[in-house]
């Protein structure tokens, strides 16, 4: 897969992240929206989303998720726009650091889910998976970003 292929995946995943984060944020503010999630012994979205860990500085964590994914989307889109040329080092570095911030946040959130609340939220786990996937894509494609895009896919 060439650099463009990686970037298309980044754009798609970041877009999906915005949608899921948006859904979870709406759930927080409008209780009439149905929460599509099981309520089992391990997976219980409502328990996670209503826990104190779901808020940071009075703002739902999902709202921070929207902001993070919007930035990730913009960075991925900008990379995609750089066709057949060397990606600006600042863009490459920014994307790498931004996904790094995402990974650290995911580690904290996983700890809150499993360690503090004791439950997993399926939607949150999907978001965590997307953040980790974006990080992996960024790392794997890093070498391609330092050269010309001769293997665009």
């Amino acid at each position: 897969m060439g650099r463009r292929g990686y970037d298309r995946w980044r754009v798609t995943l970041a877009g999906a992240g915005v949608l899921i984060s948006g859904y979870l944020t709406l759930l927080h503010f409008d209780r009439h929206i149905p929460l599509v999630c099981s309520a089992g012994a391990l997976v219980n979205c409502e328990q996670v989303l209503s826990s104190p860990s779901s808020m940071v500085l009075g703002v739902p964590v999902a709202a921070y998720g929207i902001a993070w994914f919007v930035v990730a989307f913009v960075l991925a889109w900008a990379s995609l726009r750089v066709q057949g040329a060397v990606e600006p080092p600042r863009l490459r570095t920014a994307a790498l650091w931004w996904t790094g911030v995402g990974v650290v946040s995911v580690l904290w959130l996983v700890y809150q889910e499993l360690g503090v609340v004791g439950k997993l939220c399926a939607w949150c786990t999907a978001i965590h998976g997307i953040v980790l996937a974006l990080f992996v894509l960024q790392v794997l494609s890093d070498g391609l970003r330092t050269g010309r895009d001769v293997a665009s896919g």
Partner: protein, 359 residues
């Protein structure tokens, strides 16, 4: 390759050497010797072309080499391409390890926390100052809050109660966060008709939704009123056994059990047996929390109680609006007594707005 002589063997040796040095791919890609066009080119030219990505099965067209040369040279005035950085794949290993360590630490912490949560919470009596705040909401505040955001009850029977006092039956549980929220409205409403004593602080379960919602427990408390017969039944506490069940606390009478079985079910409610269950005068019912326990998240009893007099935040307004609704239910079944509570414009209006049809 037919009749390979001394020169042919030398070329094969040359190829092996280049492969060993990494200049030639080890597989099928390179064909040696090159085609006649490229044969006259020097090894340096070949390597330059190969680095530029112009290699094609070991044969080189002159134009490709020129393009490759030009491509490999920075254009005049243009910034040179950055050097290929070191592989960052080690980051993937670090992140994987960090994820595994995080999960292990989290699971261990949760197990330790679950063991600790089975210990009984202390029963702390509600201080007189907080009781005064619960019972001392000014009339102006009641009027100011009104019924905005209040949850209307369900009419389960259109038969008037024949008891001398209005029976208010509450059935809930200590672990239940919805019961925790409902108790706030219940206590502030009932305080308009009588007096509580022996209330204790309580919190909903830490391992359920809206963990640790601050509230009070009716277990061990008494309520005296000349208008209302309050029956508070806390079915379970908030202490969890190792099998995941909560400890039973109080047992309902057969009549109370009949009422919750009959009315806390469709068509009166969406689900069967939800807590809390509140029945006023055998007619008006609330099943579930009248407002979201989220409003009480990370708030202490003192913090919430201190805002009631002025209804200065969302939690206080939700508590008092639903207490107004409950007051109207009680007034509707006890003959509008006492007049100081029931004959206010707000409560009279709320009584008129109560449902009149049984589902």
């Amino acid at each position: 390759m037919v009749g390979m002589g001394r020169h042919g063997r030398a070329r094969v040796g040359h190829r092996i050497l280049l492969q060993a040095l990494g200049f030639l791919p080890a597989g099928r890609a390179a064909v040696w010797p090159p085609t006649p066009i490229a044969r006259s080119r020097s090894l340096t030219t070949f390597l330059m072309a190969r680095r530029a990505g112009a290699e094609h099965r070991g044969s080189f067209q002159t134009t490709e080499i020129v393009v490759a040369r030009n491509a490999s040279r920075p254009k005049r005035g243009a910034a040179p391409p950055p050097k290929r950085g070191k592989s960052l794949n080690w980051l993937l290993v670090v992140v994987t390890l960090a994820l595994v360590v995080t999960v292990v630490i989290a699971v261990k912490r949760n197990r330790a926390q679950t063991g600790a949560s089975t210990a009984a919470l202390p029963q702390t009596p509600v201080p007189p100052a907080v009781m005064a705040q619960l019972a001392g909401v000014p009339a102006a505040t009641w009027e100011q809050v009104g019924l905005t955001g209040a949850t209307p009850p369900v009419l389960v029977s259109d038969t008037a109660s024949r008891t001398p006092k209005a029976v208010v039956l509450y059935m809930g549980a200590g672990f239940c966060p919805y019961c925790a929220a409902a108790r706030w409205s219940l206590i502030t409403a009932l305080a308009r008709f009588g007096t509580f004593s022996g209330l204790t602080y309580d919190w909903s379960s830490m391992s359920d939704v809206y963990p640790g919602t601050s509230t009070f427990s009716f277990h061990g408390s008494t309520y005296t009123s000349q208008y209302v017969d309050f029956q508070g039944v806390e079915l379970q506490g908030n202490v969890r056994f190792s099998n995941g069940e909560y400890a039973p606390l109080e047992h309902p009478t057969a009549e109370q059990e009949r009422l919750i079985t009959e009315y806390d079910a469709p068509p009166y409610t969406r689900d069967t047996g939800g807590l809390p269950f509140l029945l006023v005068g055998g007619r008006y019912m609330w099943a579930g929390s009248p407002f979201s326990p989220q409003l009480l998240a990370q708030r202490s009893q003192e913090s919430v109680a201190s805002t009631l007099a002025s209804a200065s935040d969302d939690a206080a307004r939700a508590i008092l609006a639903n207490a107004n609704e409950l007051t109207a239910m009680i007034c509707a079944v006890d003959g509008n007594q006492p007049a100081s509570v029931c004959n206010t414009p707000l409560i009279e209006q709320a009584i008129k707005a109560l449902p009149t049809k049984v589902p």
